[in-house]
């Protein structure tokens, strides 16, 4: 229904992220609203969520980094240990968006999604930090853990009844989850009982790791996509303090500890997609964007061997596409912005950086 001059992919290709190829680079495709609700309750960048609300649709530009990632995912062998992909790039170039695009591909292929929208939220500004019930040296974060479990439930509804636990978990003297119970029960346990929610997260992750590559056919088969945004938070510093006023190390947090175990490639049948992020990071300089700068030595040693995927600013074609999209949605109200000169000004001011361009256009 839209004229082709706006470079928006016709609606028949909405769902088929599998068919995105190099030729579609620079074009927009729409995320179906049901998918957005299920897959990304909190996954998308906040400004993009506002844009979805304003435009009444979520349109994502198809860009080379995401296409590269999807091509690797298509070609990878899932009987082998998972490959780790790290999206890196300067601030505002579209790492989170590319990650979400790739994740949407996985979702449309029917994978099980483990998505941590921003690992930085787990290492700073936590209101409650309880000493762990299971291990004395660790600390729990009940609010973050139960929030994550709720989101996990929304995203992966259909798997919850199919997967069963492989061992007995004891939470307190009176509560335990038996072997062979559906995963959904485990998650309900975590959501209802906030105190043990961090340990539930650990149990869920463990179950998924064990069962991901297990059955190759039939009911139990699934591929696991682990997506972590801001993965450098796992090996950086926290801004949380323990009760005796000393700084908390990341290993001492249950959630971080379990997530680190997930990042190792000692399981099979899935892929680990990560993106680095400086914006939310704690104690990292603003100019740092390369993997070893943000991950640190420990993080780099833990993450390697990984495939680094570079994300950069828009090129000419992509900028053109974004500009036409905003024009098409009547987002650029200022009359000067529609002229050639206005476009040149936008190029100059934003340096074709996606987030800066988006912020600039919001004023016009």
């Amino acid at each position: 229904s839209r004229p082709p001059s706006h470079n928006i992919v016709p609606t028949s290709l909405i769902l088929c992220a599998t068919y995105h190829s190099e030729g579609h680079s620079g074009q927009y495709y729409t995320l179906p609203p049901t998918h957005i609700q299920k897959l990304f309750p909190y996954g998308l960048p906040p400004r993009f969520q506002l844009q979805i609300k304003t435009f009444n649709e979520g349109c994502v530009m198809v860009r080379p980094p995401a296409l590269e990632l999807i091509s690797y995912l298509k070609r990878a062998d899932y009987s082998k240990p998972p490959l780790r992909y790290v999206l890196y790039g300067d601030i505002g170039t579209g790492k989170t968006m590319s990650l979400c695009h790739a994740l949407h591909y996985c979702y449309s292929q029917g994978w099980l999604i483990v998505h941590v929208p921003d690992a930085h939220l787990w290492v700073k500004n936590c209101k409650e930090l309880l000493p762990s019930s299971s291990r004395p040296s660790r600390f729990d974060q009940p609010i973050q853990a139960s929030q994550w479990l709720k989101n996990f439930k929304i995203t992966n509804e259909r798997f919850l009844s199919k997967l069963k636990t492989t061992q007995r978990y004891v939470w307190t003297k009176r509560e335990s989850t038996e072997k062979g119970q559906p995963l959904g029960e485990l998650i309900d346990q975590g959501v209802n009982r906030m105190k043990s929610s961090s340990d539930v997260v650990g149990a869920v992750l463990r179950e998924l790791r064990l069962q991901a590559g297990g059955a190759t056919e039939g009911e139990g088969a699934f591929k696991l996509a682990v997506a972590v945004d801001g993965v450098n938070a796992l090996w950086g510093k926290t801004s949380l303090k323990k009760e005796d006023r000393t700084m908390c190390e990341p290993e001492e947090l249950t959630l971080i500890h379990n997530l680190r175990k997930m990042m190792k490639n000692n399981w099979s049948g899935g892929a680990i997609l990560t993106a680095l992020s400086q914006t939310g990071s704690v104690f990292k300089p603003r100019s740092a964007y390369l993997p070893s700068e943000l991950l640190g030595e420990e993080g780099f040693d833990n993450m390697e061997p990984f495939v680094p995927v570079s994300v950069s600013n828009y090129n000419e074609k992509e900028f053109e596409s974004c500009y036409l999209y905003y024009l098409d949605r009547n987002w650029l109200q200022h009359p000067h912005s529609r002229s050639e000169e206005g476009k040149k000004e936008l190029i100059f001011l934003s340096n074709k950086n996606p987030s800066i361009l988006e912020r600039l256009c919001a004023f016009l």
């Binding site: 040693d301 390697e304 061997p305 495939v307 680094p308």
Partner: protein, 338 residues
């Protein structure tokens, strides 16, 4: 005119009234004169004229300045005669139209005549190339010939690898001595010393900040002894000791850890272990526990692994850049057959 007359009048009054603490009388006198100059001149002229005539009679008049020397300078003159030694800037002797200073409002920087800024700053008008040539000619009779065999820098460094620098000071004052004269700096390139790998690393570690990595020079500066001769001996002694110590291997050097290493080494690194683990896991998912020596060597010998090793070394030793990362990416892709 009144102003020009008052000055000699005041100066003569200074001499006359030298006994009196005449500041107050002088100021009152000057005030009177200034007031009188404001008043009609006719009534006062007789008075000032009388005063002027009287002063002129007592003291010789000031000579008028003749034309400046610059007018009579030819283009091919001998500049060393104008400025043979270091001297302050004389506007009448320098024929250049130099301007210096903060510009007057909506104007230009002030001219050179009577310009204090130009006089204050040091000038090198006495060190023109011609003057330097003359100095060199004069000094030649005290010098010996440069050895003809040492005609290039490389030969100088090859035959004389150690450079010793010290400063001389000449000053005319109450004392001719300058304490800074005792400082001796010794520079030597480590490539010209006979060191093996272990000795070189140990020497660099021992010399800490005295070693410059970019130029591969070790610089030893000594100033602890009072005489230059003693400092020179001490510097040579330090060099000898460093050399001999770095050749020795102590017992505790066996405890060198990965953190002490200067460069990243791939062997026995966590990176190598991980790659091995991953490859083994990829090979046979069931047999995770067997790590035979044969398979280990075989796995490590694969070209993909070697390439991965090279890119890792480059990343860690040279720092991370976009190209390094791209190469690393290619290596990882080859390793996992994407």
């Amino acid at each position: 005119m009144a102003a020009s007359v008052t000055r000699p009048a005041l100066s003569s009054l200074c001499k006359i009234n030298s006994n009196i603490n005449g500041i107050y009388s002088l100021t009152s006198f000057s005030r009177r004169i200034s007031i009188s100059s404001v008043l009609s001149t006719s009534a006062v002229t007789t008075e000032t004229e009388a005063a002027g005539r009287g002063v002129r009679g007592q003291r010789r008049s000031k000579r008028q300045a003749g034309e400046p020397r610059t007018e009579r300078m030819t283009v091919d003159q001998d500049w060393t005669a104008v400025y043979p030694t270091a001297a302050s800037f004389k506007p009448s002797a320098v024929p250049l139209p130099v301007r210096m200073g903060y510009p007057v409002k909506r104007g230009v920087p002030p001219a050179k005549k009577g310009n204090l800024e130009l006089i204050k700053i040091p000038n090198f008008l006495h060190l023109t190339p011609v003057a330097i040539k003359k100095h060199c000619e004069a000094l030649k009779q005290f010098c010996t010939e440069w050895p003809s065999a040492l005609d290039s820098d490389e030969k100088c460094v090859k035959h004389f690898p150690i450079q010793v620098q010290s400063k001389e000071f000449v000053s005319a004052g109450l004392s001719l001595r300058n304490p800074d004269v005792r400082i001796v700096t010794l520079k030597v390139k480590l490539s010209s010393l006979n060191l093996d790998d272990h000795a070189r690393k140990k020497m660099i570690k021992l010399s800490e900040e005295r070693y410059c990595k970019d130029t591969d020079t070790l610089t030893i500066t000594t100033d602890s002894c009072p005489l230059r001769q003693q400092n020179y001996d001490y510097a040579m002694y330090l060099l000898t000791v460093l050399y001999h110590e770095s050749w020795k291997t102590e017992a505790w050097e066996q405890e060198k850890t990965r953190a002490d290493m200067e460069e990243y080494e791939w062997e026995d690194s966590p990176s190598q272990k991980k790659v091995l683990d991953t490859l083994l896991r990829m090979r046979a998912l069931g047999a995770k526990d067997e790590v035979e020596e044969g398979t280990r060597e075989e796995l490590l010998g694969q070209p993909a692994v070697q390439e991965y090793r090279d890119t890792m070394l480059r990343l860690k030793n040279e720092g991370e850049t976009e190209e390094n990362l791209q190469q690393y990416k290619e290596a990882v892709k080859k390793l996992f057959n994407i």
